[in-house]
């Protein structure tokens, strides 16, 4: 394998692994903030329950955050190590948001997380709430800067190429490039959803197992509403994002949708065999299409023309099968997620949620879906951008470090894969342990749970259901 392939594989693995953790952090952070707010305001006189819930989910946050920090460290330096030509070419524009992330966001979340986790007994209740707020603000600001950098690679703006280097000419045009708004909203919506699904899945599992009931029942509605709103927002923002891609990155859009020839009134493919790179080789098989829907969804006109791959030379095409499959499976998972949460929201509204063990089980099983969908979404965005590292400006092949020997990249790839397998396994193991322990018992020996367990099953569930109101 040559250095470019190795560097690509290493980047894909390191970013893919890294991205699990900030996604969860953003979502769980938001849940912690809601719990902290309810604790401070002593809602329903249940400050203690919210306190234990917040402390528990803060522990999960911290465990996740540290793996994100570690794997994020690699990201900060990997542009220089493996993509030196790219770095020298775009540093004028791309470096600034990374530095700004440190100064304006990462210091904030790291410093206040220390306060949130270790501050017990040293800070007041309100300061603890404020620390949670700053952590969440930090995670959301972090995402702003990282997505500015990444979106600039998708839709570069506000620059000029002088002496073979991209030079910033308009900061606001570069930062507020055409894809930043939909991509930021879509990413944050999916991260909130990922955290909410995790909090919901775990709490639903506790309810099913009749453990830690007071905390679990307090978290379920919060997580469910977040998961429902987040899933719906993913569709809304995904729609914005797709429209933007069609407008600003037509070859990427054609690849994702596997549109080979330009035409009007283009159908939306719901299901098909994986497409191929050459139109002539497309496999024949069962497929499901909705007539004219793609034209309508993209341009609001059933007969609008959609640019096909035939408008671009083949060397500018993205890998079509991978883009198509990532995108369509992402949408499939998103649909599934929204469906489960729509039922959940309905049951919650009808106050029958805790009498629905089938739904609770579905919520447990659905826990990892957003995380998989997020990986597929990133694959769609980044594979769809190929063969460009900066869309239409610099090819990925031209961005790789010239002077790093392939065997050194192979060594680092082996090192990082080994390390990440270890970290991933340890994270899962320790998560299982933390979830097994659950939140701290209520003072007075978890009295409410003991009392609940003495009730007959249906009555128990009824009481739990009423409590949601």
């Amino acid at each position: 394998m040559d250095v470019e392939q190795l560097a690509r594989i290493q980047f894909a693995i390191t970013i893919g692994f890294h991205f699990f953790f900030p996604s969860i952090s953003i979502g769980i952070g938001a849940i912690v903030l809601v719990l902290e707010t309810l604790r401070v305001r002593n809602r329903h006189g249940k400050a203690d329950t919210y306190d234990r819930a917040a402390a528990f989910w803060t522990r999960i946050f911290a465990l996740t955050f540290v793996v994100g920090v570690g794997s994020g460290l690699v990201m900060e330096f990997q542009f220089g190590t493996n993509w030196a030509q790219y770095s020298a070419f775009v540093g004028d524009i791309f470096g600034a948001p990374l530095a700004a992330e440190g100064i304006l966001a990462f210091f904030l979340e790291s410093s206040f997380l220390g306060l949130l986790v270790f501050g017990h007994g040293r800070i007041s209740s309100r300061v603890r709430w404020f620390a949670a707020l700053m952590v969440v603000v930090g995670t959301l600001l972090s995402a702003v800067w990282i997505l500015i950098a990444n979106s600039w690679m998708q839709t570069p703006a506000g620059y000029q190429i002088i002496d073979g280097r991209a030079r910033l000419t308009d900061f606001f045009a570069a930062a507020l490039n055409p894809s930043i708004v939909p991509r930021y909203l879509h990413t944050v919506a999916s991260a909130l959803t990922a955290g909410a699904f995790l909090a919901l899945g775990v709490s639903a599992w506790y309810v099913l197992k009749r453990r830690h009931l007071s905390v679990a029942r307090a978290v379920v509605p919060i997580a469910l509403v977040t998961a429902f709103v987040g899933s719906a927002a993913m569709f809304a923002t995904g729609d914005m994002s797709a429209k933007q891609v069609a407008r600003t990155q037509p070859a990427k859009f054609a690849g994702i949708m596997a549109i080979y020839s330009t035409s009007t009134g283009v159908p939306m493919t719901i299901f098909a065999l994986p497409p191929t790179q050459r139109a002539a080789d497309i496999p024949q098989g069962p497929e499901l299409q909705v007539a004219r829907l793609l034209s309508f969804m993209t341009y609001g006109d059933w007969n609008a023309p959609v640019t096909g791959l035939d408008q671009f030379p083949a060397q500018d095409w993205p890998p079509i099968a991978l883009s198509f499959l990532s995108y369509h499976n992402m949408v499939l998972l998103g649909t599934l997620m929204l469906l489960v949460m729509a039922f959940g929201a309905y049951y919650l509204w009808r106050r029958s949620l805790f009498r629905r063990p089938f739904w609770l089980r579905a919520a447990v099983l659905a826990t990892p879906l957003p995380l998989i969908a997020i990986q597929l979404g990133w694959a769609t965005a980044e594979i769809g951008r190929q063969p460009w590292i900066v869309y239409g400006v610099m090819r990925t092949a031209d961005g790789v470090s010239r002077i790093v020997p392939a065997e050194q990249v192979a060594i680092s790839l082996g090192l990082l894969v080994g390390l990440y397998v270890l970290l991933g396994a340890l994270w899962l193991y320790l998560m299982r342990r933390e979830l097994g322990h659950g939140p701290a018992p209520a003072p007075g020996d978890g009295g409410d749970e003991a009392a609940l367990d003495e009730l007959p099953r249906h009555e128990n569930a009824l009481r739990a259901g009423q409590d949601v109101a």
């Binding site: 955050f65 920090v69 900060e76 542009f79 190590t81 530095a99 410093s111 220390g114 986790v117």
Partner: protein, 341 residues
């Protein structure tokens, strides 16, 4: 485009400030980690060491991340050349820092002896290796890096491991050891504190000796660095290094541990400043006939430097304010409780 000498100099200085901040703050974290196996012997002692940096290590590491980002933004060619040139060394540092980070979070989650010992070793090695390798990298920059016509690294991995560079690696490890011990003098009590006091003096002595050796050796290994010291007032900076190091044991003997921490930090800051004076106007001098990566030739556009300066001027006072407030909140010796590691 990139013409404004003031902006470029400001960013040379600011990267230096970020590196000083990192060396002082994560320096004590790394210094604590390096002596984790020796200064702390029982399980509780080791927990105390880890918890002494628990609330702050993560924020301290952000100085490194920010320095990396700032170098990328302000001097992209330097970021690209140094990190691709020092490829394997940097990957080792990153792997070590990752292991070190998770060892803090993971160690006390299980009771088993083997589990805890494994993470104790990971914490120690994960601290020692970056401490040495950061110095080795600096040593290479000091003696000049082989660069080709396009300003890319033209050397090998083993070429990075010259005796001089390794000596600078030992210096940085000694300096962090001193810094970490002084932190522990402020955060621990009893037997751990007694051991930390001995390590502090050892670290100071090693730092002083190695600093003198490196400085003398640089006359032949890195003669260009001495040019900046033709300007006589510049000598105040290395003199400050020696003065701070000599004041250090006196302050410790008198029990003035906060002042000792300040002296150790001042010594580190002055060492980095000495290096900065020597390097200017280059960031990475070329060895042999190559063209050095100078501040003026590698700087980003004036617009980028201006935008970043605004972000820094607006954002950094807040960072310093809440960082100081958090350190104040956690001042005093560590006591273990249910929320500790």
């Amino acid at each position: 485009m990139a013409e404004n000498g003031f902006l470029q100099a400001a960013w040379f200085l600011l990267i230096g400030v970020l590196l000083v901040g990192y060396a002082i703050l994560d320096g004590f974290d790394l210094g604590v980690g390096m002596q984790h196996l020796t200064t702390a012997r029982t399980d509780d002692e080791r927990r105390i060491l880890m918890n002494s940096i628990g609330p702050v290590w993560d924020g301290n590491e952000v100085w490194l991340i920010t320095a990396g980002g700032a170098l990328f933004a302000a001097f992209p060619k330097v970021y690209a050349t140094v990190f691709s040139g020092f490829y394997l060394a940097l990957m080792l540092v990153l792997a070590a820092l990752i292991l070190r980070a998770v060892s803090l979070e993971f160690r006390s989650k299980e009771r088993g002896r083997a589990w805890r010992t494994t993470w104790d070793v990971a914490f120690c090695v994960g601290s020692l290796l970056p401490a040495v390798l950061f110095g080795v990298a600096i040593g290479n920059v000091m003696r000049g890096v082989p660069l080709d016509g396009q300003g890319d690294y033209a050397g090998t991995f083993t070429g990075l491991l010259s005796p001089f560079a390794l000596c600078v690696g030992l210096l940085s490890a000694a300096m962090f050891l001193m810094q970490g011990s002084t932190w522990l003098l402020n955060k621990t009590e009893g037997a751990v504190r007694d051991r930390a006091r001995r390590t502090a003096n050892l670290g100071m002595a090693a730092t002083l000796v190695l600093w003198v050796v490196v400085t003398a050796w640089s006359r032949s290994e890195a003669p260009a660095l001495w040019d900046g010291f033709g300007f006589i007032p510049a000598w105040l900076v290395p003199v400050a290094v020696v003065a701070a190091l000599l004041a250090f044991p006196v302050l410790i003997r008198r029990g003035r541990v906060v002042a000792a921490f300040a002296a150790s930090s001042a010594a580190i800051a002055a060492m980095v400043a000495t290096l900065g004076i020597g390097l200017w106007p280059n960031l990475v001098p070329a060895r042999d006939q190559g063209v050095s990566l100078a501040v003026s030739t590698t700087a980003s556009s004036d617009l980028t430097l201006t935008v970043m300066l605004i972000i820094t001027v607006v954002g950094f006072p807040f960072v310093l304010a809440y960082t100081a407030w958090i350190y104040r909140t956690f001042r005093g010796p560590v006591h273990l409780d249910e929320h500790s590691y």
